[in-house]
């Protein structure tokens, strides 16, 4: 069985969602109710920027039971980055008396956190999908009964970051196909090399999704 490697960008936007409860520290006394006004995250260590989040008081007055919800994704965050939320004062919504600290963990980023390896032998072809996506259509029947184009088989969808900067999804199909051809030529786990429209904007693979 041959494989191809999808390199994943380790610096990504945060997922706009609630962060795991119980992992933040600091915050002092948490009071009030309901979501606080969104606060810009300050990067204590790491290189991410631009994200915002709210804090919602939980079952007691500690940050351990509060929910931190990312409302603006920002960009450039990676696992292990430490961000802080300033003390939130005033109003009836959730307030804190001290700075809250949070360490980014796997699952907080919008995409995959590690490079992805895909089995190449079942992949029939690379199919343009969108400006920031390419599908790898497999020969495996899916569980549905679709009869339309590519509707009866499974697929992998590779998403890259910086979609608006990519001039043409045909480029992505060609990039992915390059690795498929190398695999067919006997290369050991060839890596997808993204074109300049992706790389020049500092981006690369973001996530791989398998669709049955």
């Amino acid at each position: 069985m041959g494989y191809i490697l999808v390199p994943i960008d380790k610096d990504q936007p945060l997922a706009v969602a609630a962060l795991p409860v119980g992992t933040a520290t600091g915050g002092g006394t948490v009071s009030g109710s309901g979501a606080s006004p969104a606060q810009v995250l300050t990067t204590v260590s790491g290189s991410g920027s631009g994200a915002s989040a709210t804090i919602t008081k939980g079952g007691d007055a500690t940050i351990a039971t509060a929910t931190i919800t990312v409302t603006v994704a920002g960009d450039g965050y990676s696992i292990g980055d430490v961000v802080s939320i300033p003390a939130i004062t005033g109003g009836s919504a959730t307030k804190t008396t001290l700075v809250t600290l949070y360490t980014i963990v796997d699952g907080d980023l919008v995409g995959d956190s590690t490079d992805q390896t895909l089995p190449a032998e079942d992949v029939l072809f690379a199919q343009p999908n969108d400006d920031d996506e390419v599908d790898l259509i497999t020969r495996n029947w899916n569980s549905g009964t679709g009869t339309g184009a590519n509707a009866a088989v499974t697929k992998y969808t590779i998403k890259v970051t910086g979609g608006s900067a990519i001039s043409d999804e045909g480029d992505l199909a060609f990039d992915a196909d390059g690795a498929l051809v190398k695999e067919a030529q006997g290369h050991l786990v060839p890596e997808i090399v993204w074109n300049s429209a992706v790389v020049d904007s500092g981006n690369s693979g973001l996530s791989v999704t398998y669709t049955d």
Binding site: E121, L124, F125, Q127, P128, D171, V181, E183, G186, N195
Partner: protein, 123 residues
């Protein structure tokens, strides 16, 4: 490793980025047992079967619907050859895809839908 054949790509008048002009895309031809031609496009049929006598086929969509019946036979012969020569990955061009062709884009695969996997009748 899979056996693949490459086909001329970027068959539209809208060029892709300078990186990838005049490129190819490849098709996995493991298990392919027949090639047919219909409406100027080619269909590669695979052994992969499912219920009701249906099997997998892949349509190769050419911009100018320029594939000939003879091209189907030529592609099948190339598939047989490649299956005996793993790693070769040759490029398949249509009969009329010659340097003097007036509209060379017509002999290249469509940009958006170069290939389409379909559940079809076995041939």
């Amino acid at each position: 490793m899979a056996s693949r054949i490459q086909f001329p790509y970027n068959g539209t008048t809208v060029a892709v980025s300078p990186d990838n002009k005049n490129t190819t895309l490849s098709l996995n031809i493991d298990g392919a047992y027949a090639v047919t031609q219909s409406s100027g496009n080619l269909f590669v049929h695979y052994e992969d079967t499912m219920g009701s006598g249906k099997s997998l086929k892949v349509e190769l969509d050419y911009v100018g619907s320029s594939a000939l019946v003879a091209d189907a036979a030529r592609l099948m012969n190339l598939i047989k050859t490649v299956q005996q020569q793993p790693g070769s990955c040759p490029i398949f061009k249509l009969t009329d895809d010659v340097p003097t062709a007036g509209t060379p884009a017509n002999f290249r695969l469509e940009k958006q839908t170069p290939f389409t996997a379909l559940r079809g009748d076995a041939v």
